[in-house]
Amino acid sequence: MVQTGARRAESDMGGNLSGIQTAMDLAKDQAEGAASAGPDPDGGPELANTERAVYISEGFPVGSLPALPFDQEAKASEETVGMAVFLDKLSERLAFERMGTRLYDALITKCETLGDDANGMSLAALQEIRDEEHRHFLLLNEAITQLGGDPTVQSPCADVTGVASLGIMQVLVDPRTTVTQCLNAILTAELTDNAGWEMLIDVADELGHSDLSERFAEALENEQKHLLNVQSWLSARVMAKV
């Protein structure tokens, strides 16, 4: 039996204690306590939202687009802005592929350690995806350099995508997470990656960089395979348990 602590009754469920139904006596007190006191002050989320609006209205950006300071953006030519936006999206993809390489490194370590390569997911297949993520990162390095940009810049989109992806990385590097949980997190990354490459191809075409868009289309093809693989591995693992 799971040890649940002295204050709990024998009849309590034990195990995961986060839900209110694991200890019904405590649950009753908990709900009664909150219900007996009214809100202070009255109102709703709009009060906090009004305060948030003050900061939103200040208009401070996360940062400037590559090679285009924020305060010059409004008066820059369409061409300059277009190129800066392109570099921003390239930088975003680059950062994502670089992080993606590390995500697969972490997954491979976990699968190797656990000897877990069930349901059609082989270590060789994971390694292949990892290497493709790395090649995509190198491709983006080249593309940015070819356009006269700096591949080491952390653009605003790269930065913000990094913030959004932080949780995915935390899932992958946590020794307690299962391979299935990791695949679920990677699925989020692969879905984003697919959409990201599609957008990059559109932007490259729009700006007349057909040579790049052709190379990006190959990368998208790889990413579509990654997505299908991850989806099928994940699904097989979940379905095997139900």
Partner: protein
Amino acid sequence: MSLDLFKEKGVELEKQQFTWRDMVQPPTSKLDDDAFTRVRIILMNGLESESIRFSHACARMNRDLQEPLAHIRRVEQHQQTMVNWLLPADLSPIETTIGFEQVAIEVTASVAEREPDEYMAQVYRFGLLEDFDHMYRFAALYDRMSGGDANNILQSYTDIMPGRPTSVEHRDPTDDLRDHYERDTAEPLTKLNALTIMAAENQTHDYYMTIGPMFADPVARQLYAEIASIEEQHTTQYESIIDAKETWLEKWMMHEAMEVYNYMGCSAYESNPRIKKIWDRMLDYELGHLHYVMELFKEVENRDPAELLPETLPEPIDFASHREFVRETLENEVDLRAAGPKFVGLEDEPERTLRYREQMNSEGSPSDAIAAGYQWMPGTELAAAKGAGGKGN
């Protein structure tokens, strides 16, 4: 840049006021602001944190001072918030860590270069080479765990390469204690330097102790455990160089002078006009605190503050890259070790420290594990065509 401490009275304590919105300003930009703006924010957060830490310790030992301490401490609390909250939310804990180590390197280097007491300068250079190594280890973690490039934070001001290896920085506590300056004869700059670096290192320790458990990766958790332990050693080292015979009020007045000194430097160097205004406001507040404590010093100790305070403050910390100074120190002093308060060669390291270190590293060294074979390059080590660090290479 000179500022007359006796004439400049700043803002009176009663007029030092905040609102929550005013305290929580829009943060700086991780991408657009100069790395030294972040260095100054991290440093001044550390100094404000020290002012509160000191104030509480003093209050616990001095019933009669509790009320004035409480009044000034309330303002310091809000100053620290205002300063620390200038860091943006997209600066992740590991990125903030890289910022902390940049502070430890560049600020300590400046202090070491200008310190008039040769023994104290040696103490700073000794600590500097250890923090320099931490930067390398954290950069490796950032690169290999999350694919991040530490230079996005450092902006090429600070080298990323091994220093005195973190794995050999672990010492018996006796070998972290140094000789202290003498309160009656030390130059004011020596006192200001010691307080500044002690405060910065103590805050670094506290920060790592707070964020260490936020990492999921067990090697990251071990690395923060290991480097936090060194920051604790550094705090021990730097508090030991301060003369313990100084009276509580003497220490309090020097704390306020140290804050004045550093806000003055921040203002002088700041490139972001919005942040410069904040430094100027904080400088005025600290001058107000200093004068308040000077009056108390006269009243309670019946002494003249001029016994301790210089009329004008020394040149501020140089918020700039100290690459050459650091490289030279590395070249000449990487093999220095500590034997009690003395600095000795490798062969003279005390047995007690060797035993302690062997015990701590007996199941492996996180700082070695994270950086094995690591060499920073622009865009991370994955930018090398072979993709070093990956399983398939």
